[in-house]
Amino acid sequence: MVVSNSKTGMSLIVKTITRLTVGLILLFGIYIILHGHLSPGGGFAGGVIIALSFVHLMLAFGKDVAVAKISQNVASNLESLGALMFLSIALLGFLGGSFFLNVLNKGMPFRLFSAGTIPLSNIAIGLKVGVGLVAIFLVLVILEGAENKK
C-alpha cells in the first residue's frame, strides 16, 4: 500500500480499517459474481461491489492513490474488453443455432460449474460493471482535482 501521508484522505483510524476491509469487500464481490447462478446476486451486484471496494479505497486514501492504482484509459479499455467478452459469449450461441443459445453443457444443478454459459456471462458482466463504475469515479475525482487548481 502507498505509505499514507497524513494530508490526503481521511483520518488514520479510517485508513487502518480500510486496509483490513478492502480485501474482504473485493472477495465478497468476487463470491457474489461466481455464485450468481446458485445464490442471489450475480454479475451486476457483484460488479458494483467490486467497484465499491475501489471507491472505498479512494475515499479513505485520497485520490492520488486511486489514480496510481488504475489510470482512466486502462479502466475504459478493460471495460470495453469485458463488453466484448460478453458479446462473444452471445455470438458463441450462433454455433448452436441461434443468437444467445446456451451452448455449453448444463452439468448438474447445485454445482459451481453447472449452468453452461451463465457463469461465464456473469463473470464478463461483473468485470464490465465493476471497471466501468470505477472509471466513472476516477473521472469524477480527476475533474474535481482540476477544479481546485482553477
Binding site: 445464490s39 451486476f44 447445485f110 469524477l140 475533474l143
Partner: protein, 112 residues
C-alpha cells in the same frame, strides 16, 4: 389494491418534485424517487402470498414460488436508473462549474 395506490402516490411525489422544484439536485432526487416507485410497482405485481424466493432448493417444491420475471426486469431497470442518474449528476456538476449555481431560474440562458 391499496398497496398499488400507495406506490403510485410515491410516483406522484417524485413527479411533483421533478416538475415543480427549481434546484437541479432536487430535480435529480425527484427522478430517483420516480425510479424507486416504478421498480417497486413492478415487483409488487409479481408477488404471491405464501410465495418463496425463486431460488430452487432440493427440499422445497417449486410450485409456490414468487414470479421471477418482474424481478429480472426490475434488476435491469435498477441498473438503467443508475446509468441515467449518474449521467444526469455529471451534467449537473458541469453546469454548476459553468453557471456557479444549481438554481434553474438563474441558468435560463436558453429561451425554451
Amino acid at each position: 389494491m391499496s398497496i398499488y395506490l400507495l406506490c403510485l402516490a410515491l410516483f406522484c411525489v417524485g413527479l411533483y418534485g421533478v416538475l415543480r422544484k427549481r434546484n437541479l439536485v432536487k430535480i435529480i432526487i425527484g427522478l430517483a424517487i420516480i425510479e424507486y416507485s416504478v421498480n417497486l410497482f413492478f415487483v409488487l405485481l409479481g408477488y404471491r402470498f405464501r410465495g418463496r424466493a425463486p431460488i430452487d432448493a432440493q427440499t422445497q417444491d417449486i410450485l409456490n414460488m414468487v414470479d421471477p420475471l418482474p424481478q429480472a426486469l426490475v434488476l435491469t431497470s435498477i441498473v438503467i436508473g443508475l446509468g441515467v442518474t449518474a449521467l444526469i449528476i455529471s451534467l449537473a456538476i458541469r453546469i454548476y462549474e459553468k453557471y456557479g449555481t444549481f438554481d434553474v431560474t438563474r441558468i435560463k440562458r436558453l429561451k425554451g
